[in-house]
């Protein structure tokens, strides 16, 4: 049965493999393999993706692009869930010598039933660059769905950056829990101004450690992440990433 479901999703995504041709520059520095939530809240990526097991939590993360000097990204996230509703907010800042880019997002998710969740987010973004283009402010919407087809298969869809300028992105991801500690994800994301991007990822948990490997195909990006859960309930993550056009990035995250 799981293999049959896997084949079904493979057929679903087969055409998109053919669509994928060139690199799609991601605006977000986070790992893109995170649209489905199992035990952790990932509402920052998909407003619907929360887990009732993760009732409250916060995290701080930084990103450092090695090939771009004097640039640092910081993000603070916070969430809490009650019954079948979860609320999430995050604040992000990208600091550079010549500009500051920031964003503030609020997401609320509702579990319609045990398998189906739906979420909505409102995000505000600003760019402060007084010496060149002045200040820029915009508000964006985001709609997300998460559906658990059976014990092993999850499906997510996100309409991202919904705005009057119609620069939205469609993201679809399928997660296959092959074993309790071994997961495989395949996904597609597409913004109309560039070509669609396909990615594959595999994740494994070994005791308190969590490993993740992601690959954009054709070869546009890859990432490796290692997480360790401490006894004090804090968890740290380090994630070296390479992306075409940006180069190497190192991300560090501390969460509980």
């Amino acid at each position: 049965m799981p293999l049959r479901s896997f084949m079904f999703f493979l057929i679903l995504l087969l055409p998109t493999l053919l669509l994928s041709q060139v690199y799609w520059p991601l605006a977000s520095w986070n790992s893109f393999v995170a649209l489905n939530a199992q035990k952790k809240n990932v509402q920052w990526a998909n407003p619907a993706a929360f887990s009732i097991d993760d009732k409250k939590g916060c995290s701080i993360e930084t990103v450092l692009p090695l090939s771009i000097p004097n640039l640092l990204g910081i993000r603070v996230k916070n969430h809490f869930a009650k019954a079948n509703i979860s609320y999430h907010q995050d604040l992000s800042l990208l600091l550079c010598e010549s500009f500051i880019q920031g964003g503030f997002s609020n997401a609320i998710a509702l579990a319609i039933n045990q398998n189906f969740k739906m979420g909505l987010a409102l995000q505000t973004k600003f760019l402060q660059q007084p010496q060149y283009y002045g200040n820029f402010f915009t508000a964006l919407g985001r709609l997300g769905l998460q559906y658990q087809m059976n014990k092993a298969h999850y499906l997510s869809m996100v309409l991202d950056d919904i705005a009057p300028k119609q620069m939205q992105i469609i993201r679809i991801e399928h997660l296959w829990c092959m074993q309790q500690n071994l997961h495989f994800a395949q996904g597609l994301q597409w913004c109309p101004s560039s070509s669609p991007q396909i990615y594959l990822s595999i994740q494994q948990s070994i005791k308190d450690y969590h490993l993740q490997f992601g690959l954009g195909i054709p070869m546009q990006s890859f990432e490796v992440a290692v997480s360790h859960k401490l006894k004090s309930s804090w968890e740290w993550t380090i994630m070296p990433t390479w992306r075409q056009g940006i180069g190497y990035l190192v991300q560090f995250q501390l969460s509980r």
């Binding site: 079904f8 669509l19 319609i112 189906f116 119609q166 939205q168 070509s195």
Partner: protein
Amino acid sequence: MKNWLLIYGIVSFGPSLAQPSLSELLAENQQIELVPSQLDAMGTLALFNEFELEQLRAFFQNGGVISNYYQLQGILHHSTTAQINQKIPLLLLPPSTFVSGQSHYKVSNYKSEFRINYPSFLKQNNQWRPHLDTNYLGPAMALRYRWQCNYLNWQLNGQLAKDSGEPIWYQGKNGGVDYQTFTAFLNNDRSSKTIKRFVMGAYQIQWGQGLQLWTSRGMGKSIDLLQLVRNPLGLKPYSGNDEQRYFQGAAICLGKSKNELLVFSSIRHVDAIQKLDTLSNEFNFSYSSGYHRTLSEIAKRKQQQELIFGIAFNQNKELFRWGLCILQHSQIYSSVGANWQWSKKQYYFYGEEVLSRITNGVQPPQWAHNFGLIYFFDPKLEMAAHLRYYAPYYLANYANPISNISSGSNELGLIVQLKSQLTPNWALLLALERAAVYLKPNSAHFYDVINDSRLVLNYLSKHKTQARLQFSHRYPKSNQAILGLQFNCQIELDQNWQLNVVGQLLKNTKVIGSSRQLRCSIRYIPKSKGLRLELSSGMYQANSPLPPLYMHAYLLGVGTQTMLLSGVGSFTMGSIRWQVSGHWQIQFHSVFTSNLKGVGGAKVQCGGMFRYEL
């Protein structure tokens, strides 16, 4: 030689290998009565699930009639007979008894609705402005008022409508509201009376395979072989949007036992180019867009009186139906046609022959032929072949045949289809078509041979998910080949929620790159609650010289939204319907399109509907 041996083998041994079981033969020889108006009741009784109901609705919309066991099995993609057998006893035709007229109409006794489409707004120089064309003589709003009333076996309906940019009232000859219809319809199908149906006012006729008379517009060729067969609904009242394809007058359908006689006449003013503007001896009916917004469009409005008379006879035996029809269209043409459908064991034959003669033309009478065969090798394997020939000057203004050209003339074509149920969930369909369009003097059509192949893989789980993947290859001799890939996935997330993902890829073999689109929609359709909504969003890339794409998305309560997708852009559509009380229903919809590259820019269009039902 090998091929001939193979064909001989199939023809000789096929029937003997595919002997049906006794229960199948019993079911096959009893007619199944399943009509569109019963579908909702079938859903309530949980006899069919949502997906099956949708399949059946699509089938009926194409003019289909379920008349035997294999048809139902083919449409519902069931691999085993067990599921069908459960439904069969509930679907078998009851003995012919008198049923009171009141029970025929399950719909409300009175219904009226008012629809309005507001002027669209365009974004120009960062400012939203209403889209107003100064050439249009009327207000930039589309309005439509429609009502329907049922009493006993009678149905009365009427409508008044105008399109965007059309004047509300026309002066002079044939003045009044742009589009108006009124119909009084008597339906005695379920009773033993001789007068089966009677209509005065606007009506439609579907006859035979659509070669001679089929006033409604078709849905084109289908990959599903059972949908190649046109199953006519005969005489129907009309209250649709199409301002051109309907009859207006009186018609009566008399029935006795299994015989039916239909007599009809229509007198109507239709749009046409004035005689002064054309050198053609025949009157030119080519203007049929239905728009009357500018001076030149209004000049063509209702310029010609169209007179149609006809008489048709058909006999419906359990497994064999045949019919004859004679039609006289004004002083333009007359035609005689015969059609039949025959079901014998696993064979299903159908066809139509029409001879049409242009009254004042120099051409000899022109033939149109249509032959089809469906062979059910096994409940898991079906094959169909469809041959058509339409003579170069064949004329039938209200025809709707299976054809590459909408006029349905000057064409020879063969379609072969194969459908295999691989597993209970997976089905494979293969369709091959070869069509030739002949050289015709003084015509825009030139000689061409078109080869079209399609391969479809269908996935269907019991209640939740269906997916469809289609590969297509179209190769016109005169042009470049187009390769296509399309997938459609529909998931029932919940009893109330539905997710749909559609993607399409088109590639011209001589051009680098491909056109593509992706659309996702989420729908909330509870059965018991009054609120229903849908949100659909998509994006596309189809830069010239890549082939353009077409988007046909059904928007809840509004209908199919068709868009030509050219350039690079995205679109978002939303619809909300609210049952305010037991009688009132309100609906709003909005369509937002944005073209990032190419013509168009950003555009928003909104509309509303208010309905009262008693």
